[in-house]
Symmetry: C2
Subunit: 301 residues, 2 copies
C-alpha cells in the first residue's frame, strides 16, 4: 500500500480515518529507539521482551507507602466537587460515577514527583531513546459492581489522528493502585500487535473526545482486523498486586472488560512521548484535543 | 432470624423477595445429599472439594468428537429461523444475536443422549443422593466482540422464588463447547458462598423471566451482601478447554463479565434436580415460569 500524503504535505505511514478502507499495515518504525543496550532501570532481557511483545509488567515498581500516598491523592481528587464538574473529570456513562481524572500530574504534587522518578521517566527515556515529555496522565477509577470497560484500540491511532503525533515513539505505563485480578476487568493486550497498524474507518466528528473517553466508536478497529490480530497474537490479561506496573507500546492493541466484582480497579496512567518527534496538526481530526488530554507543553521531565 | 411461613402454609428456610430486608442466612440443607462415599463417577476427593467450594471443574468430560457433535447441534439451532422467533430463544439485548436457547435436551437427540449419560446424570445422582430430573437445559452462545455478561446471582434464589423449588437439592453443569479463557467472559464463582443464602429485596413482576434472562435486576443480591460475600469467599474464574465441565451447586453465587474478545464462549448448561424434592407453587412470584425454563415433567433421567 502506498502511503498517502495528508495535511501540510506530510508523508504519512499511518493513514487512518480517511478515504482508505480498513487495512492492517506494517509498522516501519522501531520499538526500542536506542536498542536493547540503552542504559536505564530496565534490564536487557526486559527491553527485548518489551520489543517482542509491546508490553512488559514489572512487579513492585512502587512501595506500599507510595501506593498509599497515591491512593490518598486518588481519593482526594475523586471527592473534589469542583473537579467533578471540570472537563478533566470523565464520568461513567450510566452510573455517573467518576471514571477518569486527567492531567493528574498537574493536580497532584505526589503524582508529579512519581512521574519524574527514574523508575517511570527513566524507563521511558531508555525505551524511546531521547528526552521525554508527558503527553497525558490520568487516574482511571473503574469502580466495582459495574465499572465499564474500554473497547479494543491502539492509543497511537488516536494520538496520531487527533493529536498529530507523527510516529509511535511513545508509551504508556499503568501503575496498579489496587490489585489487578483476572476477574475485575484488567487491561488485556494482544502481545506483538504493536508491530502492525490497523487503519480505521470513519471520520472524526468535532469534539470526539467527549464521547470517546467514555465509549469509543471512531478509531476502533473493524471486527475483521480485530479478529485477525486476536487469532495471530492471542490475548493476555495484565495482572499484578497494587504497586505493580505494566508498560506498553503506544501501538499495542488493548482493551478491558467491565468489572462486575465489588473490587475496584484503580490505576495511574502516564503517557511519555519523545521530545524528538513533537506533535503537529492532527492527521485526521478537525481540531486538536484539549491540552489536558494531549499536552502542548513539551518540557522534558 | 425466624423462618417465615409463606404460601400454602409451607415453612420456608429461604425467604426472599418478601417484606424482609436483605439478609445473609445460613443454609440448613446439606450439599452432598448422600455424603462423600456415594458411588458414582466422581472420586471422594472431588466430592469433598465440591462440598467445600460448591464448584468443581472436570477436564476432558467430553471427547473431541462429542464436542464437535454438540457444536454442530449448536450451529444448527442458532441458524434455525423458526426457532429464533420461538420463546425458547433469548436474543442479546443490544445486538439481537442469539444469547441462549432453552430446552435443548428436547430439541436435540445428541444433547438428550449426553444429558442422560452417566458422566452427567450419574454425577448428579451421586451428589444429590437420589434420582434426578432435568429442571432446565440451555445453550449459551455468548458471542465474541461484545457478548453481554450475567449479573451475580444464586440460581436457587430464582428457582425457589419463581419455580417453587423447596430447597437447594439441585446443581448445574456447564460444559464448555469452546475454550473458556480468563479473558472471554468465563463463569466466575465465589467458592463457599453456596453455604449462605442471600435473601433478596424486591417483588417479582409478572413475566419477569422475559427480562431476567437477558439482564436480571430482581433476585439479584444487594451490593452490601455481594461485597460481603466477595470479601469472605473471593472470586475465581472457571476456565478450561472445550470438553471440560464445571459443576456448581444451585446456591453458589456466580456471574460473568462481558466478552469483548473475538473468541466466542459457548456452553451447554444442564440443571439436574432431585425427584425427592419436587417443586410446588412459586415461593415469591405471581405465576410459575414456562415449562421450557422450569420443567414440570419430573421423569427421572
Amino acid at each position: 500500500m502506498t502511503a498517502p500524503t495528508t495535511t501540510a504535505g506530510r508523508t504519512d505511514a499511518y493513514p487512518t480515518r480517511g478515504e482508505t478502507a480498513a487495512a492492517i499495515l506494517d509498522r516501519p518504525d522501531p520499538v526500542l529507539w536506542a536498542g536493547p543496550d540503552a542504559p536505564g532501570p530496565a534490564s536487557r532481557e526486559e527491553l527485548l521482551a518489551y520489543e517482542r511483545d509491546g508490553v512488559l509488567t514489572v512487579d513492585a515498581l512502587l512501595t506500599a507507602d507510595e501506593v498509599a500516598a497515591v491512593g490518598g491523592e486518588l481519593e482526594r481528587l475523586g471527592r473534589d466537587e469542583a473537579l467533578r464538574r471540570d472537563d478533566r473529570t470523565i464520568l461513567e456513562k450510566h452510573s455517573g460515577a467518576v471514571r477518569s481524572v486527567f492531567e493528574v500530574h498537574r493536580l497532584s504534587e505526589v503524582v508529579a514527583r512519581l512521574v519524574a522518578d527514574e523508575r517511570l521517566a527513566g524507563r521511558a527515556r531508555q525505551i524511546l531513546g531521547s528526552a521525554v515529555y508527558v503527553h497525558q496522565s490520568r487516574i482511571n477509577f473503574k469502580p466495582g459492581l459495574g465499572g465499564g470497560g474500554f473497547s479494543w484500540h491502539s492509543d497511537f491511532e488516536t494520538w496520531h489522528a487527533e493529536d498529530g503525533m507523527p510516529r509511535p515513539r511513545a508509551l504508556s505505563v499503568s501503575v496498579a493502585l489496587t490489585e489487578n485480578l483476572t476477574v475485575n476487568g484488567p487491561l488485556m493486550v494482544m502481545p506483538g500487535s504493536h508491530r502492525r497498524f490497523v487503519s480505521c474507518v470513519g471520520e472524526t466528528p468535532p469534539e470526539h473526545f467527549r464521547e470517546s473517553l467514555r465509549d469509543q466508536e471512531i478509531g476502533v478497529p473493524d471486527e475483521g482486523s480485530l479478529t485477525r490480530l486476536a487469532v495471530d497474537h492471542g490475548i493476555v490479561p495484565c495482572t499484578g498486586p497494587a504497586g505493580s506496573a505494566t508498560w506498553f507500546d503506544s501501538n499495542t492493541m488493548h482493551g478491558s472488560s467491565d468489572n462486575i466484582t465489588p473490587f475496584p480497579r484503580s490505576n495511574l496512567f502516564v503517557v511519555f512521548a519523545s521530545t524528538d518527534d513533537p506533535p503537529g496538526e492532527p492527521y485526521a481530526a478537525p481540531a486538536p484535543r484539549p491540552s489536558y488530554i494531549a499536552a502542548t507543553d513539551l518540557t522534558p521531565v
